[in-house]
Symmetry: C2
Subunit: 216 residues, 2 copies
Amino acid sequence: MQTIIAIVGGTGAEGSGLALRFAQAGARVRIGSRSLEKAQQTARHVGEQASGHTNPDAVAPAGVVILTVPLSAQVDTLKSIRGSIAPGAILVDATVPLEVAIGGRVSRTLTLWDGSAAQQAARLLPGVPVVAAFHALSAEALARLDHPLDCDALICGDSAEAKAVVSQLAQMIPGVRAIDAGPLDNARLLENAAALLISLNLRHKAKDSGMRITGL
Amino acid sequence: MQTIIAIVGGTGAEGSGLALRFAQAGARVRIGSRSLEKAQQTARHVGEQASGHTNPDAVAPAGVVILTVPLSAQVDTLKSIRGSIAPGAILVDATVPLEVAIGGRVSRTLTLWDGSAAQQAARLLPGVPVVAAFHALSAEALARLDHPLDCDALICGDSAEAKAVVSQLAQMIPGVRAIDAGPLDNARLLENAAALLISLNLRHKAKDSGMRITGL
């Protein structure tokens, strides 16, 4: 059976960009939002592979739940969906702990007590395999469906099986190579790499910088 | 007049790799070490463009001082050379604050009080323009003189002039593109990106992974 993908925070730029790409590749995508109306609006934009729901409804039948919300919304959103996540489902956290959450800069990160946003998610979702991924895929680049991306998807987590599933998802996106980046403990490195790209975008007036790892 | 480059910690893998590349490009390189004998030995290996010195002697006539030492040696080394750095000289800090300095892992970083190793260097060298660079250039790749590198050199610092000098140095190395990565405040992002590459090398049994920024 085909995996159902829920994208929580799916009306944002990153979430809807991922939704467009997964739908393009033939996946069923459930757009989640606090607002049912906005979720349905984004789903119509994504196309017939997509449907719009409130966040808890979006995740209930999903095998993979992708979280694409700002840090300021991460904890509350996880609390709102944790009762609805199906047994065996994977949580993919793409949160970048940007300082902007406390009024600071979009190019700086906060140090979280758990070490990373993904580890914070794992603490809030005991028993759910958490994978950190997709931080560095440019929303702008995702939305340009006629162009392949030019970047690698670094993926970390403590479950090899969950990482394999997420790697397959990543490689549904043209131009993306999935790279295993180790245990969830490494998530802070991926989150900081995303902040680095945001900083480079600002400095160089770019919108879709990406990262390729050479030599692997 | 040609810039004289001092490489402090120049007998290590990263320092001697940089020395080889700068000498290959025709620069005068002064290898610094705590041990004069080791410095001279490395200088002979690098070739006639290079000379070996104790660290304070290496830096005295240099326009650019590149620091390539482990975190555990960074503070003491900076204290040992700060009285010898010429007025107007630039300090390039390539220190990666790896947890191995306190017996931990080579793929994890420590959070320093100053925010980054480069900012720590700047605090210890008041008045000296400090640039963070060269963390992510693989020592293995640098040493293979017949192969160009396949990576970008991300450079940050608070002096645009100093960054321009270091960018020119970086681009003396075949295959390297220099990218301005903003103020010194961003150095922790570059240091963490280097730790990410170390982690990927370990996981994928590679020795010379690098990083390219796409879309710029």
